[in-house]
Symmetry: C2
Subunit: 278 residues, 2 copies
Amino acid sequence: MASSLRDQLSSVSSLAEVDSRSTPGFDGGKKHAKKALASLGDELADLQRRLYANGVGDDQDPRSMLLVLQGMDTSGKGGVIRRAVGLVDPLGLRITSFKKPTTEELDHDFLWRIEKGLPQSGVIGVFDRSHYEDVLICRVRELAPPDEIERRYGAINDFEQAYVDGGGTIVKCMLHISADDQKKRLGARLEDPAKHWKYNPADLDERARWSEYQRAYEVALERCSTEAAPWFVVPSGRKWYRNWAVATLMLEHLRELDLTWPEPDFDIEAEKTRLAAG
Amino acid sequence: MASSLRDQLSSVSSLAEVDSRSTPGFDGGKKHAKKALASLGDELADLQRRLYANGVGDDQDPRSMLLVLQGMDTSGKGGVIRRAVGLVDPLGLRITSFKKPTTEELDHDFLWRIEKGLPQSGVIGVFDRSHYEDVLICRVRELAPPDEIERRYGAINDFEQAYVDGGGTIVKCMLHISADDQKKRLGARLEDPAKHWKYNPADLDERARWSEYQRAYEVALERCSTEAAPWFVVPSGRKWYRNWAVATLMLEHLRELDLTWPEPDFDIEAEKTRLAAG
């Protein structure tokens, strides 16, 4: 693996060209990937703790990270949170699931509820769906006028740029599956009583608009892949690759922050003396 | 292990009687405990997922769980979150760390910020420190008048009863260490650059009031151990026991909820037919 995974997964021009069951950047199969995921867990957890230690300290390090997870139903947003995000200390996580907006949320600009979900310094925020729903389902279902949808691409770019300018690192993952992958997974949900709760008959109505959604994703990927916040298309037909890939993307981005432990703002020897006396 | 851990750890009348390095309910040492913790993780994660599945569904199951973690500095609240709470899906967790109250928080009743941290249905809330600080540090440091402190014990009991009446299960753990345990751990923080950020010279000022804090804890344990929300004193001088014990307490409480998977509110066969056609 000479080049980084981030270089390999950005710059997708058409989703149709991406094989959902491909495994770019990973040589090996399921067993190998599960082992690789577990073994990168230690470094991921260590870097997250450094980020947290700096963020909660008095030195006002504003850095934080935001992982945005988008994808069609069954693409595995929940699985990524459990298997990849779950490798780090939950105390340093802030996970927000964006569902159908409430009446109060609809009374505000679409970014109002998103802004409230941004992580504080030191924390890794995770968006389970996100502001991109406002240019995905809203576009496909015409839940907003075309010029408002049009306005949103730029508003999203400005919003993400502002987050990055404030010390944030943003990792946007589009969990890419095929219509066939989805069919199998919805079928599995119907077969398993432990998965019935995840199934909603309305999911099939959205599924019927598959190509419209793919088109909406392509527009969003193109309009909102900026230098500050590029999109990564993660082939997600194989769950083990998907989990490994998202964890690896988080890791690569955290490594770039060169996270050191904060310097003590007290005299270590003096404190040792005080402690010994008490 | 005939009786449950919850029976063994409740009903403490004096903290001085509890050996912080004892391991009630557990036969074996560190290696054995780490294995036991990992092996109960599957059941814990499964029950948490059932709780979540019911809570997010349309059947309006109001059940949730709240884990309250209290203890002196270095008692291991963070370690419990990482090692025990971290066994479950982070999507179903809501962790709130209560620090020194802000000006806005001080302008409200002490329970105002606490109420906002309660988990929604289906979720396991975790309080890293809690409303008990308002009868612990506030009592020791006289941050509120005596009659206000006195009022708070009853207010806490009413608040916790209301949470339980609304479908909540509350598990309150006092992570009990000795002054010697703390001395060793503060010393370790001073030795390790990766732990300096956790050290604050002011911690030694609190440490100087050790016996006053123990007394304040004893009063809180006595006044606020109710049938709805008893306190558990978890000997925490051995980290591996502490982590195993808190996970076991969570597990025992979740088992009592008899959590089944939610029934589907749709016709499974009809959906299979629709899916096959699409």
